[in-house]
């Protein structure tokens, strides 16, 4: 007995030793500790972060991407270079430099397109060096709105037109974290046996228009499965216009910029050079001019207008001009006087080359007004000698003005005398026009500061009708460079993004990452919209412009809550985020931006028939975006079904064998007991 005991203890001790020995060797390395079943699920189903391409519709059909049906798309991941002939649909992993060729091939080769289940685009910083240019837009963006005949002129040399085609599969741009998640799962595969597992991506990008079978704007607006693109433009006047006063109105110098961009991917379209650099230059100029006194005594009125929806058929400018015709509330104060001069700020972020900031003034037509504007620009340039700015007239060999809001102004009234300031002459210098790569690294902040400075002084010269450069007031107009740089990081980066102090001072943003895509217009369009339906950037611009163009009556500012001020010419600014706002005297209004072919009635949108008096409405595609529920992409590993069935069979076998063993033992024991 004792011998048996010691023997057993010896065996146990030996087992213990054996178990402990290998442990001191290798416990280093990553252990992701799983503390609960939800943790395990998160490790199994890796959620991938990124930006989708969504379904957009127009009068004749659809563009963009979507799941082909109602179900999730699950397809094994494969790199583009590893694609072979096979019947199965795959998720193709495409790098940014392969994107243009890939999508061009998809549109032309039907058999290639049928092999695609979904697309994941990798656009890390490592690929951006390889790309010299990438633009998914057309050679002449929005050519149908051009006021001149030559619609084949190639403004955009890097164009590929891929964002205007229809794709019957989901496309997803991976963010930095998304890229590392996918790379991790693909690298783990090399450790495991490749024969019985596959890595798959699951796309949940079902678009409501696909579900409902409505494949153009008219049908989907009728069914309510989509919403029209648009938003809210903002205008403000310096100094404030008193609507009630019977004083003769001064002629207006209108400065225009736009706030919306677009790209292949809905949420990653910063539009740094085109057009946000122009917007920031305008805001820098407004900031500089707000510090100048005596605007009441100047000969002309300055009005600043920031439009949205310009990428989708010049929705902002067309609606603004329409509202002027209608003499509506949205443009009260502008209609009983003439808009004498228009200066548009286009892309001004890439003017710096060889230490000099060069900008080109494109005139709509040659007239005394445009000559005066260009002269004012040159005077401003000379007064800013230290900043090394050069203003040049655009090449007369150009067919006309480049794609800009002025095209809409010209189409409406061919006699418009206006100038658009750009950083290019005969073709875009922005090689990433309307792409996800037109971000902060694509522009130079000093170019934007230079543009803001020259525009601020030009506007002062135009408003005062004064050509005297030694005017001390002109010399005192300085743009705050750090303000411009901060604003660029607020509108063109996710860190700090719209949570930067500058923006948070005025509004409480709903998103941190600025998505400069125009988005859809929610609710009923009105000049006093429900602020929950107005986008972050529009609300910021309204509050900012109202603040900068405001005039303090006396030195007291009354507080306002609920956005209501007692006096009629006062507005309530900075009233968001539980703060009490301040009432200031300012003329700042929202103008809805949506197609002139649409009408809102009883909660639904209808498309108006073509009207020959609205020439731009005749060529308007009437863009809408499909409704969608959730957009989510997950990546995980899947076993082959043979393996799953093998496991089931193994389980059943083990159970049956155990049962047989137990029955056998039972009969053995009964037999043993009965042998007496």
């Amino acid at each position: 007995m004792a011998m048996g005991l010691t023997r057993l203890v010896a065996i146990a001790f030996a087992l213990l030793l054996v178990s402990i020995l290998p442990l001191h060797v290798s416990l280093a390395g990553e252990i992701t500790s799983i503390e609960s079943v939800p943790d395990l699920q998160k490790l199994m189903y890796v959620a991938v972060d990124g930006y989708p391409c969504v379904r957009l519709l127009n009068l004749s059909g659809e563009i963009g991407c979507s799941n082909p049906g109602l179900n999730k798309v699950v397809a094994p991941i494969i790199k583009l270079k590893d694609i072979k002939d096979s019947d199965q649909q795959h998720t193709i992993l495409v790098t940014a430099d392969e994107m243009e060729d890939f999508f061009t091939r998809v549109s032309s080769d039907v058999s290639f397109a049928s092999k695609i289940g979904g697309v994941l685009v990798e656009s890390g910083s490592s690929f951006q060096h390889k790309l010299t240019g990438f633009s998914p837009d057309k050679k002449f963006p929005q050519a149908q709105f051009s006021p001149y005949e030559n619609v084949d002129y190639k403004w955009n040399s890097a164009a590929s037109s891929i964002m205007w085609k229809n794709y019957n599969f989901p496309v997803y741009l991976l963010s930095e974290s998304g890229i590392s998640a996918v790379q991790e799962i693909l690298s783990k595969k090399k450790m495991k046996h490749e024969t019985y597992t596959t890595d798959v991506a699951e796309f949940n990008m079902v678009m409501e228009t696909t579900k409902a079978g409505t494949h153009n704007s008219e049908a989907c607006l009728q069914e309510g499965t989509c919403l029209p693109l648009g938003g809210y433009s903002v205008w403000s006047s310096l100094p404030p216009i008193s609507v009630s006063s019977s004083n003769k109105r001064k002629p207006i110098v209108l400065t225009v910029a736009s706030m919306d961009s677009a790209s292949f991917f809905r949420d990653k379209s910063f539009g740094a050079d085109s057009p946000i650099s122009g917007l920031v230059a305008l805001l820098g100029a407004v900031d500089a001019l707000s510090r100048v006194d005596g605007f009441d005594n100047l000969k002309k009125q300055l009005v600043f207008l920031v439009l949205t929806g310009e990428t989708w058929g010049y929705l902002g400018s067309r609606r603004f001009l329409h509202e002027l015709d209608l003499h509506s509330d949205a443009v009260a104060g502008l209609t009983d006087t003439s808009i004498e001069t228009v200066l548009e700020l286009g892309s001004v972020g890439k003017g710096l080359s060889g230490g000099v900031n060069t900008f080109f003034a494109h005139k709509t037509r040659v007239s005394s007004v445009t000559n005066m504007t260009v002269d004012a620009l040159k005077i401003a340039q000379d007064s800013l000698a230290s900043m090394k700015i050069k203003i040049l007239s655009a090449d007369s060999a150009n067919p006309g003005i480049p794609p800009s809001s002025l095209m809409a102004f010209m189409k409406k009234n061919p006699q418009t005398s206006a100038v658009v300031l750009e950083d290019f002459d005969t073709k875009f210098v922005n090689k990433f026009y309307h792409s996800h790569l037109d971000d902060l690294s694509n522009i130079n902040s000093s170019s934007v500061v230079a543009a803001a400075s020259v525009v601020a002084r030009t506007l002062y010269i135009l408003a005062s009708d004064n050509k005297d450069t030694s005017n001390s007031a002109l010399g005192s107009i300085h743009v705050n460079a750090s303000f411009v740089e901060e604003l660029l990081t607020c509108l063109l980066a996710c860190e700090p993004g719209l949570s930067c102090n500058l923006v948070k001072d005025y509004i409480s943003p709903t998103n941190t990452c600025p998505g400069n895509y125009a988005g859809v217009i929610l609710g009923e369009p009105s000049s006093k919209p429900y602020l929950g339906y107005v986008g972050d950037v529009s609300r910021f611009l309204w509050n900012f412009l109202a603040d900068k163009t405001s005039v303090q009556k006396g030195n007291t500012t009354s507080v306002c809550s609920k956005g209501v001020c007692s006096k009629s010419d006062e507005v309530c600014i900075k009233a968001e985020s539980n703060k009490e706002g301040a009432c200031v005297v300012s003329t700042t209004r929202y103008v809805p931006a949506y197609s002139t072919r649409l009408k809102y009635n009883d909660g639904a949108w209808t498309i108006l028939p073509q009207n020959s008096s609205d020439s731009m409405g005749m060529v308007d595609p009437v863009w809408t975006e499909s409704n969608w529920d959730t957009i989510r992409v997950r990546v995980y590993t899947v076993q082959h079904s043979a393996y799953d069935n093998a496991v089931l069979v193994a389980g059943i076998t083990v159970t049956t064998l155990a049962y047989i063993g137990i029955m056998a033992t039972k009969s053995l024991i009964t037999k043993a007991l009965k042998q007496d």
Binding site: M1, A2, G4, L5, L8, V9, A12, L15, L16, V18, S19, I20, P22, L23, H24, L27, A28, G29, E30, I31, S33, E35, V37, L40, Q41, L43, M44, Y45, V74, K188, M191, K192, H193, T197, T637, V638, Q639, S641, Y643, D644, N645, V647, L648, V649, A650, G651, I652, V654, T655, T656, A658, Y659, I662, M663, K666, I669, A672, L673, Q675, D676
Partner: protein
């Protein structure tokens, strides 16, 4: 891994217990009660242990000795509880025997006692499998699978099911050995049960090493088969003894 695989894993871990339950335990209501009470006791022991260890959690993931300490303390505690369980059972057995005497019915046979011990062990084993394997199995019914880096040849769920099956076997049969050991005062049997339990627990620590499961799991099955063989030998000896006794006296 789909529903088929999920059911497969559940059957690998708990299929034999199901077979045992259906063929032996379900015939006698008293055995079902024993299984349930034993399961409850095991879960209570886990709750108390987790309460005791709570201040020290979470354990650092890259040193192994806190886990060894955890295993040792848990095994000692559970073996102590096993002895208590036996004491309660002994009291119950005396009550049942005296009741049987009063109504002139036969007392508990050896096979009855062995079956009660088996039911007690099964309760422990099923509780272990449910707690350590079945509770993690819900994600296995979805489409994805999961491989742990340190055991990259086999899916996580399969390994946990296999380990679960080993522990079910160990718990079930070591309870039989323990009860007989305590009843007969047999030192070997009394000591071997805690030793086996401890060895099995420590062997799971081998899985911490990279690809350690290739060594750890077969060794664990070695321990399980040792338990099974020892239990079989012991039961066979006792049966032969009883048969000789009854033939000698009858």
């Amino acid at each position: 891994m789909t529903v088929a695989a999920g059911i497969g894993y559940a059957l690998v871990a708990l299929g034999p217990s199901l077979s045992l339950f259906v063929s032996v335990i379900s015939r006698k209501p008293f055995l079902i009660l024993t299984v349930l009470s034993s399961t409850l006791l095991w879960l209570v022991s886990l709750i108390i242990l987790s309460g005791l260890w709570r201040p020290f959690l979470p354990l650092k993931a890259n040193v192994w000795w806190p886990y060894a300490l955890l295993v040792v303390t848990s095994v000692c505690f559970q073996e102590g509880l096993r002895f208590l369980f036996w004491k309660v059972y002994k009291r119950l057995e005396d009550v049942l025997d005296s009741f049987a005497d009063r109504i002139s019915r036969p007392r508990l046979f050896l096979t009855d006692k062995l079956q009660i011990a088996l039911a007690g062990g099964l309760g422990h084993g099923v509780a272990h499998a449910v707690f350590f394997c079945l509770s993690l199995l819900t994600p296995a019914f979805g489409p994805a699978t999961f491989y742990v880096e340190r055991c990259s040849k086999v899916p996580f769920f399969l390994i946990s099911a296999i380990i679960g099956l080993a522990f079910v076997t160990i718990h079930t049969f070591s309870m039989v050995i323990a009860f007989e050991g305590y009843a007969k005062g047999n030192r070997v049997d009394q000591v071997i049960v805690p030793v086996i339990h401890l060895a099995a627990g420590m062997l799971t620590l081998v899985n911490f090493a990279s690809e350690g499961c290739v060594i750890g799991v077969p060794l664990l099955y070695l321990v399980a088969s040792l338990t099974l063989v020892h239990c079989g030998k012991m039961v066979w000896q006792r049966l032969l003894e009883t048969r000789n006794q009854s033939s000698a006296s009858g």
